[in-house]
Point group: C2
Chain length 212, copies 2
DNA sequence: CGCAATATTGATTTAGCTCAACAAAGGTGG
DNA sequence: CCACCTTTGTTGAGCTAAATCAATATTGCG
């Protein structure tokens, strides 16, 4: 959907834990993730961590760099990542096509962040996990990476904890509850959702809440 | 800073609890808040509420409507609000000046939302309140509405609770702790911050975190 | 003055956290 | 292919920050 390799693209890849960007770095380009997962996060003085955004294949990383902002948070690969470096002219501008993709992506980011404010502010552990797994599945499906009712899910429980504002231990226990209730099947980095409707229910979505 | 009344502006005002926008409405224009406070929020099926954004004087409401999105959340006045209706041409486009303001605002919104993800995901009640009061003060100061170390603070404890993901009762108790520690003075809708540095400390901000 | 909204206080409960083992998986080098 | 070691996942026991429930003050306003 985002087109093949355009004129000024170059490819690069990253291993897990490698940085795509560091704080306050000058971003001379933005990426389109072609394969693998990455995230941005913030670390509190005492070590607490919150992941504030997830980049899946097809995502632009970071759209708002195109608005002239510089990274305020590190971005790190969670798996092996293959990405296209969308190059800019010397003046820091991008192709019209790229700008288009950025804005679309930007609007999605705001929408998703808003959804997560609600989840982190008001939802229980089970609702949070349901929201997360649902969102992952829907996003993977939207980019053609879901197969039937399943998709890859490479996150560790620790990473899930840092996304949902829970502890790893509690993530573990809550996932077990969800498995016991037949809400999800989750094993060896693979997610299956037997019944989308009941998972949606469990996520306490607002009527209006579209996840992608 | 955002200029005086431009050619195609018209003014309007709202009373507390009046809607500036409802869900799924077609927004034929966007607003610049000139006076008063408003917020957008989301309601869960069982009545839990999370406020997902606050509009203070000078803010654009909503910048991303200009990106062609329609409201996915209601926006409601918290106080008396005076606003300028920034009109668009029949084609839905805005003046260059307005677009400029939108993008600046948009970048700020993303930055602030990200900060709040961290706070809602990982911070204690006292840290949340410190973050909120600090942000309010800094934003008010940035638009020239702070007087020395104080500014207006019209929110009720219930509204503060819906912003910080806490219960009103716990907000009350935590504010008392903060007052006792000399972190804030807060009475009759007026906020005073005796020592910005210690409140900043109490908010557990990341080194990088600029609030406005 | 009287009513409704807001703020405060106390007593109790609970969802989720902490601490501490231990078990499985997975990758690496021999 | 196996032995080792690190990372990830699982389980148990106890603790605590914040929620809940229930009054009672206080404030502001018509």
């Amino acid at each position: 959907m985002l087109g093949q390799v355009a004129v000024n693209e170059s490819h690069c890849h990253f291993r897990p834990h490698q940085f795509l960007a560091r704080e306050d770095e000058q971003p001379e380009s933005i990426f389109r993730i072609d394969e693998g997962w990455a995230c941005r996060y913030r670390l509190l003085p005492d070590g607490r961590r919150q992941i504030t955004g997830l980049y899946l294949p097809g995502d632009i990383c970071e759209p708002h760099w195109a608005l002239g902002k510089r990274p305020s948070q590190p971005i790190v690969a969670l798996t092996n990542v293959r990405a296209a470096r969308l190059s800019s002219t010397p003046h820091g501008s991008f192709s019209a096509e790229t700008q288009q993709a950025c804005w679309k992506n930007l609007a999605e980011v705001i929408e998703r962040q808003t959804n997560w404010l609600v989840t982190l502010g008001r939802k229980t552990a089970l609702e949070r996990l349901a929201h997360l797994l649902l969102e992952l599945f829907e996003r993977m499906r939207a980019s053609g990476l879901a197969y039937g009712q399943q998709c890859a899910m490479p996150l560790t429980q620790m990473e899930i904890a840092d996304l949902t504002g829970l502890t790893p231990v509690h993530v573990n226990r809550t996932l077990q509850t969800m498995r016991a209730r037949g809400l999800v099947e989750l094993q060896s980095k693979w997610l299956r959702i037997p019944d989308l409707a009941s998972l949606r229910d469990a996520a306490a979505l607002t009527p209006n809440e579209m996840l992608v």
